[in-house]
């Protein structure tokens, strides 16, 4: 029998960026908040300290900071006609675990989405007509607009200390920034990163070709910064150990550096670590959550009653928890009925390795997680698709996040995979190869979705999440087009050898691409096609809020964390100013 604990106001499932910010806001409003985190406690000191943290094998190759796959894996198949099998080692994407969640091991690439992203269906159909969309594509509007979210983007960027240069201040184009960004109300809190050599070469070539290069927005500090919570971060030293690592310098914005110290001081908040939430409990009507059941590390099961449940456990885990708890109707791709699991999407990544002459010393190991130079000319719908036959696009970035040699040792096409010629090619090209990274839209389809696996279970006996996904042909056509544009810039940079490497199908779990897993618990204005309303509130169980990239109806070109931050504060505001005054459906 689970031990029943005293009721609290709020239970937060998962203490990453979303969980810690929402908990902080609600605890500060006087509510009793319990945060339940399955992973371990960890902090800049002592857990992220150099030199031990600079261990490529442990953190990059063996995935030292990621969800414990021995206990909780996911299953995968490309098509629903296949049998899904477990992802036995994380490779393609890397769900985090532990205090701070993915906010510890991210790179800090802090983007906003475009105005068109939030009204994607309306925008695309108005500009091009419905015919541009392949029949299986399923794009939707978000139910919230960029203009509504702008103040919340701003708040998140000031929390992080985002570093960049505004390109569009209230509609006025600013020199030095991204002229194609959606308008922002004020300048970034900190200036952009120092530019890498590869980025500078790219900038010159891109400018000559009439594009609009700028330094990518970053959450790796460029100067000492004290955020509105009173927490101070230090400048990044460009160590080249950012993504997949914790930051030893308090230089990367993470829950640990920007919010947790404030939250932990609030006596209204209690953190329970190494505790696995098993389900959200519903009352007999099925329309009200009564709290959660969880198991601690000693195997003791507890029932934690609460009047409000916030599900903030990373998008994929959020969707699984909804399915395990029976909240919302599971999506069925055959009938297209149901909402939970719908429109799972990803990020369509491609690369252009650009092999330069041996006298160009790039020193790519000198890098922040977000110190690249970018053009936004081919992102989302920033270019005319009328005659192209696809929707979507990519930003094109040149620069490096690292040059850690187990995983980074590029060789030109035609090089053998091993032997003397391979070794010589690795030596020759290591410090002289710039890699363009293209981050592209992922268009939702009818057939890409999430549900519970019928066979494989986790360490607590519960079904694993099953992912059914392949790249839609639209996105492969998009990738070919934009990757070719990137190759033209590489040409202009004077590259000796260029590899035009668009994304090709099928999606594979075996090579890292991106941890930008989106969809499955969409926000929207129609309960028939979304799991949560425009305030990230469950349509079916209004005292459950779900905040994660699972809310995105399809994915944009950009890294999702900035937009997630905006949704976190947008939801916090709706909770504080409306829901707490009058609990019930907000839309």
């Amino acid at each position: 029998m689970p031990q029943k604990l005293n009721e609290v106001d709020v239970v937060v499932i998962g203490v990453g960026f979303a969980g810690s910010i929402l908990a902080k806001e609600l605890a500060a409003s006087g509510l009793k908040v319990v945060g339940i985190e399955r992973g371990s406690d960890r902090h800049t000191v002592p857990n992220f300290q150099a030199p031990a943290i600079h261990d490529e094998l442990k953190y990059s190759v063996r995935k030292g900071m990621m969800q414990d796959v021995t206990r909780e894996a996911m299953t995968f198949r490309n098509h629903s006609r296949e049998v899904a099998l477990p992802i036995r080692q994380w490779e393609a994407f890397l769900p985090g675990t532990g205090l701070g969640g993915c906010g510890v091991h991210w790179n800090g690439q802090t983007w906003r989405y475009q105005i068109a992203d939030f009204i994607y269906k309306t925008h695309i159909e108005q500009r091009y007509g419905k015919k541009i969309l392949d029949p299986d594509l399923r794009i939707q509007d978000w139910g919230v607009t960029y203009q509504e979210l702008e103040p919340y983007y701003d708040r998140f960027e000031y929390l992080l200390g985002a570093c960049g240069k505004a390109g569009n201040l209230n509609g006025k184009i600013e020199p030095g920034g991204n002229p194609l960004e959606a308008p922002r109300a004020r300048e970034y809190p900190n200036p952009p990163a120092k530019e890498q050599y590869a980025g500078a070469l790219f900038r010159k070539a891109a400018l000559e070709m009439g594009y609009h290069p700028f330094l990518q927005p970053s959450a790796n500090m460029t100067r000492p910064y004290t955020n509105p919570e009173g927490l101070t971060l230090n400048p990044c030293v460009y160590c080249g150990f950012c993504e997949r690592y914790g930051c030893e310098h308090y230089a990367k914005a993470s829950p640990q550096t920007v919010i947790l110290p404030v939250l932990m001081k609030n006596p209204n908040f209690e953190l329970r670590m190494e505790s696995q939430v098993l389900r959200i409990n519903l009352d007999s009507t099925g329309k009200k959550a009564t709290g959660v059941n969880y198991m601690d590390a000693q195997g003791r099961e507890f029932e934690q009653p609460a009047s409000l449940v916030l599900l903030t456990a990373f998008g994929l885990n959020d969707v699984r928890m909804l399915l395990l708890s029976g909240i919302g109707k599971p999506y069925d791709p055959v009938t297209e009925q149901g909402v939970v699991g719908r429109n799972y999407a990803y990020q369509t990544q491609s690369y252009v390795p650009t092999f330069l002459s041996e006298d160009i010393h790039l020193n790519s190991y000198m890098a922040a997680g977000a110190s690249g130079t970018v053009i936004d000319d081919f992102s989302v719908d920033n270019f005319d698709h009328s005659s192209l036959g696809f929707v979507g696009g990519c930003y094109i970035l040149c620069g490096s996040t690292n040059a850690r040699p187990i995983e980074f040792h590029p060789t030109p096409p035609g090089t053998p995979r091993w032997g003397s010629k391979w070794k010589e090619a690795v030596r020759r090209h290591y410090n002289h190869t710039a890699v363009f990274n293209l981050s592209g839209t992922s268009t939702a389809t009818r057939w890409n979705y999430l549900d519970l696996d019928p066979t494989y279970r986790d360490a607590w006996g519960l079904p694993l999440l099953r992912i059914t996904f392949d790249f839609p042909d639209n996105d492969l056509r998009m990738s070919r087009y934009v990757t070719h544009k990137a190759s033209e810039i590489a040409q202009r940079m004077g590259a000796k050898i260029i590899v035009d490497q668009p994304r090709t199908g099928p999606f594979t779990t075996t090579t890292y691409q991106s941890t930008h897993n989106t969809g499955g618990a969409l926000m929207g204005s129609d309960p028939a096609t979304s799991a949560v309303n425009r305030y990230c509130q469950s349509w079916d169980v209004p005292n459950v809020f779900v905040v994660g990239a699972c809310n995105y109806p399809q994915n944009s070109s950009y890294n999702p964390t900035g937009t997630l931050g905006a949704l976190i504060y947008w939801t916090a505001d709706a909770l504080k100013t409306r829901y707490l005054k009058r609990p019930g459906p907000l839309a």
Partner: protein, 238 residues
Amino acid sequence: MGQNSNSRRSFLKSTLIAISTATLSSEVPTTLANSAAGRASRFLTDPETAFLQAAVERLIPADEHWAGAAEAGVVNYIDLQMAGAWGHGEMMYRHGPFRKGTPSQGYQLEYTPAELFRRSISAINEHFSAQGKSFELLPAEEEDAYLTSLEKGGIDLAGVPSNVFFDFLLKHTVEGFFSDPLYGGNKNKVGWRMVGFPGAYADYYDLIDKHGVEFHREPIGIGDDAIPHSMSSMRRGE
């Protein structure tokens, strides 16, 4: 680092012959067999060590400037990895049912990395001993040809498809050549020196925007513990 490639290769060959003889006569103490790895084995048997010493050296051969995988301690690295949590499958989801998947679904065999190495190498050594040969005594070209046949796939190594084994071997060889020397490979930081990676101590605040600068710093590993955390003194001394 400028050792002659022929002498390096003949040194390795003679070491390997010593190992093979020792293994065949089964009277020589195991410490001799392990001398190529430089320390007592935690997981690998003598025949496994002998095969791996030869095989990894073909994957990353010595050249006139840089040691190959054998001298870099890659076999020692593999030994330690196979003896530990990774080798024992304690970093993988290992619940059945196990079934053959599509390439997109990744590794689906029921073997731990250590079991996979052991089964595969036993099958390879049996294959050669049935012909009165051993892999590590073949001429380099024949070793390459055999490794290529493994890489292509289609050979069953006691339940392990040969291409799966080959990819595992190559992955661990590259890891052992480039990972921090703390893990027992990358001896003398040869992998890092070869490409110019400065290692674990990393602070480039005042260098990142000095575009094109040639930066040659003695690489520093996690275990070196040579320098206080602040990098400024080191940069001044550069």
